[in-house]
Symmetry: C2
Subunit: 443 residues, 2 copies
């Protein structure tokens, strides 16, 4: 971590700063730059970076206005040197949000080929294969030798973001094979590529969703996966480091959704208004659900008037059932997302969770039933204890059934979030309570 | 996906099966094998795999008893051929859980060097750098040329799990530099390694925790990171595909913890007893917390007797406050974990969340206050509405303050889970309700 950098005031200091910055990870420079309040100061510092480090800082900060401010205030040759170092996919991400005028001027800093690629990439949705892929990759024809392929790569490589896999094409630019750089290097120089390549190449379509791609790359441990168009021409690759970010993003989305926050609040720091809109729908569900709980209690009002001590245990009953329901739904939702649970084994999953729910219910019922008997009176303790057993059984059942059902009808199981499950189990739990209490207390 | 494989009954069918299996991804074979009920059938199928595919199937299935059953029932030459293909780190993971006797017999299938490495790896904790790393990596001395280095790699590479980075050492085996395979390939053949290597090498200590390593590799977009001992000797590397699994694992752990499930339920399918023990502690917190809510209500009992309709809104009040508190705590806990929020900016984070909480509170208060006025009577509607505004403000405040405080005192903020926050806001929320209701209803 960088704690403080003094901007240089003479040439000696400039040289020392450049030398210092060369030895620091550009990601750490990005962190430091993001902490600077003053735009002028940010620009001044970035000017002293090597072009390739500046490109990484741009990617890390992900701030298109900083990028246009820096590039458009630098001498043209220096701006072009930095632009050359920005991978096309990162450039497209940065340019996507730029106002049209700045975008045109920044695009002019790239060479013709890169510009054409960037404009193409700008046409894809950010969360699809097209939005994730880079157009910089290495292809070789199937008929050349390993030696020749290495020579071709020496010529290509300065433009390629990653060369860890080599893609093999036929005369029509169709993807026909793949080999790792490792396989290429250890092959005899005169071996034909066609003889050492693997022909079962897995690829993704340019319109595929990023979550599917992340799952695929996780499952098969790929470092990169080729992206093809509808005619099976290779048009890009997606590398595992971009997937690492997708995995974090998707986990955050799931975590948020489970807590009752819509994915629109997925940005790093959305506006208060954005956060309000992302959270309010779930509160509305809670309100109208819990008005249902209120209706259950108001039907019980005459009996509550007789034994008002019944009300004392309401928060405990709803709290515990909500807790147990959320535990079961979380395990089920996450298991379905990770592929460790399969919705085909629904019966086994439900049986397992309800067994756990029953065990928890009996324990909790005994403890609270005992406390309730001494604190208030035995019949009330018994009613509360029995209700807890039944409620926990039911909460674990609902917590498992609801996400499994959503999965079956192709709704994201994460919608079976804590607010949703909690509300459902509150209503049914209070209904159990009123019925059990009425029977046992004979009211 | 493979739907069905018939085991061969003659040589023709055997050849066809072998050819078919060569064209299928070993991860898909693993999936199919895991679905077979019969151990004999599993073994029979694995026997037809290429040794390197069998090794991947073993890794994917992560089932040590299958590994020993297969390896010890195969002819020794075939078992040794498979063993050669298992990367040392995977082998150590598989052997870790094997009974001593089987482990000794399986270890005997590896060559002397691999066996020594595996035994060393078995000594490290699974969730540390030592447990994640492989001992197969490529080092070259700083003084050789690029051409010579490529030749050395040709000789080494068949044993190296990944050669995407080349590590450079001095005469004392200290790590002094790094270069990517790409940089090596595009360098002129006669260039000295010392001239093209990067000298600011980031490494991790063999005892570092896997979560720290995942964060480091995510931040710096590394494909691999070297592992050093306390004397800075390079002893292994960790590759990004192992880190992808760690990221999924850590996200699951956080999700579980936030839902009130201890990390011991992190296994794919723990026993019912394990799940019970992982969830019960949080239920106990809920019980004793909500008994606190009960004490608040019992102090209010005389007034509840006068206006029993007050009880109707208790589930709504606790449900909404729990919901808002969980939303704020989730955003804070995840933001701290991802590094998008910094505990140093506590005041700004709290201000933002309480602003959102207040906005949500006013909306919810107006809606429920209005409904309450018509459904019951205006003074009760007013009391419930005002309580909702105050409770939501307080819930968002607590939901933010608690994880920030935990972070400050070095407790995992994820401990500020839904059950914990819900219970805290229930008690204070009901206290607010009793005070506001007593004042407005003049009881």
């Amino acid at each position: 971590m960088i704690t403080y950098i003094d901007l240089p005031t003479n040439e000696d200091e400039e040289t020392r700063l450049r030398e210092y910055l060369e030895d620091v990870q550009p990601e750490d420079i990005a962190e430091y730059v993001s902490g600077l309040e003053d735009r002028e100061e940010q620009i001044a510092l970035i000017k002293f970076l090597e072009p390739e480090d500046a490109a990484i800082v741009f990617f890390e900060l992900d701030d298109f206005s900083l990028v246009s401010d820096v590039l458009l205030s630098l001498p043209r040759w220096q701006a072009m040197a930095i632009a050359t170092e920005i991978p096309n996919d990162d450039a497209a991400d940065l340019l996507a949000d730029m106002p049209d005028k700045a975008r045109g001027r920044v695009l002019a800093l790239f060479d013709d080929e890169a510009r054409a690629d960037i404009i193409e990439l700008l046409g894809y949705e950010a969360d699809t294969a097209g939005g994730l892929m880079t157009t910089e990759f290495v292809v070789v024809p199937a008929f050349v030798t390993a030696q020749k392929a290495i020579e071709m790569m020496r010529a290509f490589a300065p433009d390629a973001e990653t060369i860890y896999y080599v893609y093999v094409i036929d005369g029509n630019s169709h993807l026909v094979g793949i080999l790792s750089l490792r396989e290429l290097i250890i092959a005899g120089p005169e071996t034909a590529i066609a003889d050492i390549m693997q022909t079962n190449v897995m690829s993704v379509n340019v319109q595929d969703d990023q979550e599917e791609i992340a799952d695929l790359m996780t499952k098969y441990n790929f470092l990169a996966v080729p992206v093809v168009d509808d005619e099976e021409h290779i048009i890009g690759i997606i590398t595992v480091d971009d997937i690492v970010d997708v995995i974090h993003e998707e986990a955050t989305e799931d975590i948020y959704r489970m807590a009752g926050i819509n994915e629109s609040e997925d940005d790093e720091e959305p506006s208060v208004k954005g956060a309000y809109l992302a959270r309010m729908p779930w509160l509305l569900i809670t309100i109208f659900g819990e008005l249902g709980s209120g209706i259950v209690l108001s039907g019980f009002q005459a009996r509550l008037e007789q034994v008002v001590a019944l009300a004392i245990f309401i928060p405990l009953l709803t709290g515990v059932a909500g807790n147990v329901g959320t535990q079961s739904s979380t395990v089920t939702v996450r298991g379905l997302a990770m592929g460790t649970l399969e919705s085909g084994h629904a019966l086994r999953i439900i049986l397992r969770e309800t067994t756990i729910g029953l065990a928890l219910g009996v324990s909790v019922g005994l403890i609270v039933g005992g406390i309730g008997s001494f604190w208030q009176f035995p019949a009330l303790g018994l009613a509360v204890g029995l209700t807890l057993v039944l409620n926990n059984l039911m909460a674990s059942f609902m917590g498992t059934l609801v996400p499994l059902t959503f999965k079956r009808i192709n709704v994201d199981p994460a919608v079976a979030s804590a607010p949703f499950i909690t509300t459902v189990v509150d209503i049914t739990g209070l209904l159990n309570y009123t019925l059990i209490a009425a029977a046992i207390l004979n009211i």
